[in-house]
Amino acid sequence: MTPELPSGLDLTLDQLDRDGALREAAARLPRTRFLAAAAGAAAAFGVLASPARAAVSRGDVAILNYALSLEYLQAAFYTETERVGAITGKAARATRVVGAVERAHVDAFRKLLGVQAVKQPSFDFRGTTEDQLAFLKTAVAFEDLAVAAYKGQAHLIEADAVLAAAVAIHSVEARHAAWMRHLFGIRPAAQAFDEAKPKAEILKTVRSTRFVAARTRTKGGGAPRFTG
């Protein structure tokens, strides 16, 4: 049994990548592999606040931003679930633990990417953070998705340091996936061989959830019609 993300939803890449940084970085992805090891390149990527910054190419920046986008989604999902407080029992405990980890992932990616980090979009989790069954179903889908997404980028990552980070996070996501699958009542390790998923397929799945929402228009320029 494979849980499906909530259906009947429609999300656009524009919404996921609101400021265009993800697509902009992807468009700059070089055809040939290169490492920015030279001093000039180090200056170009000087915004990356890491000892490995000199070895992070534009292509890797795009991949890191892709990972950050997924981490935003997960961190916001678990954080909202915990704050709303509608989920109970072992699932609530898992939410607290996994949510803290996903927030730590977000912080780490943002610190590494610096000003090149994509901004966090607005989310509308459509009640899935407020209902036990919907929460578990979505959590399983998110974690399975993250595992497949990290794996799907492995062969594209240029710098060993970035690959090492991705692999370290990938296995954590796999543990989360197993935990959530167990809580949902399905086999934690369903298959002997996990397939990777390309970015296009992952984004299509995320779009189908419509969890990334337009920002609410709370500001206006019209004349007030208050009593005065």
Partner: protein, 250 residues
């Protein structure tokens, strides 16, 4: 950095295949240091003044209970009179017998302090605020708290005895700027509170919080129900007050 092999033979040397010999001093590739450092995960802390709000995504009927056949309380639209998103303050939730999630919300309707239940599907994403605005009609003050700590205070003007500012629990519903009306000052906040007297006022007599072109009247009981403050005070408040903030008028 490289490390030296510590094994001198293949682990798979048995069983018919040829033995693969790794020289004792053959260098192995070093493990690369990860490009990022993930710090120790930090649990969420309990936060004072944490509240959620959500926009109304589709016109919907609010009901007295989380059920489609419960009595009707009010009809909610998606826009305010000023064409900003119509917001509701989220107070609670419940799941009905059919598994549908309902949300209990504070409503921008008369009588003031009305709450009701709407299907979760009619609302957009939950937004968080950590602020609370308290208006004291006796002391003529407005105090803003963030995470329980006072961050803003100002003397204000409120409604006259004829057009009193309503008391109760409300929320900040919109923020307006760039309009041409010195009467309202540079910035105005819409609230969910409504005058219980001026019900035929255009757009329904909503109470706003705004600046003024008559600072000489403040503090005092001078308005039609709105909460007025000096322009420098409303500008200071605007930098601190997010839309969706709960508002208590006492």
């Amino acid at each position: 950095m490289s490390v030296t092999a510590i094994v001198g033979f293949s682990a798979f040397s048995g069983g018919g295949g040829g033995e693969v010999v790794v020289p004792r001093d053959a260098p192995l590739a070093a493990l690369p240091a990860p490009a990022l450092v993930v710090n120790t995960p930090v649990p969420l802390r309990a936060e004072r003044d944490l509240a959620h709000w959500a926009p109304v995504l589709r016109a919907v009927t609010a009901r007295t209970a989380p059920a489609v056949d419960a009595p009707r309380v009010a009809r909610l639209t998606t826009r305010t009179a000023e064409q900003t998103a119509n917001l509701v303050l989220v107070l609670g939730r419940a799941t009905d017998r059919r598994g549908h999630v309902w949300t209990r919300v504070r409503l921008p309707v008369l009588p003031n302090n009305t709450t009701g239940w709407v299907p979760r599907s009619a609302l957009g994403g939950l937004a968080v605020v950590r602020t609370r605005l308290v208006v004291d009609l006796e002391r003529l003050t407005a105090n803003l708290f963030r995470r329980g700590k006072p961050v803003f205070s100002a003397r204000i003007g409120v409604g006259t005895a004829q057009w009193p500012t309503p008391r109760g629990e409300f929320y900040i519903r919109s923020r307006l700027a760039r309009y041409r009306s010195p009467f309202y000052g540079p910035i105005a906040f819409g609230t969910s509170a409504r005058s219980e007297v001026l019900t035929d006022w255009p757009a329904g007599g909503y109470v706003g919080i705004h600046g003024t072109d008559r600072p000489d009247l403040l503090p005092g009981r001078v308005s039609h129900g709105c909460i007025r403050m000096r322009n420098e005070d409303i500008l200071r408040l605007a930098s601190l007050l997010p839309v969706g903030t709960p508002l208590s008028i006492r």
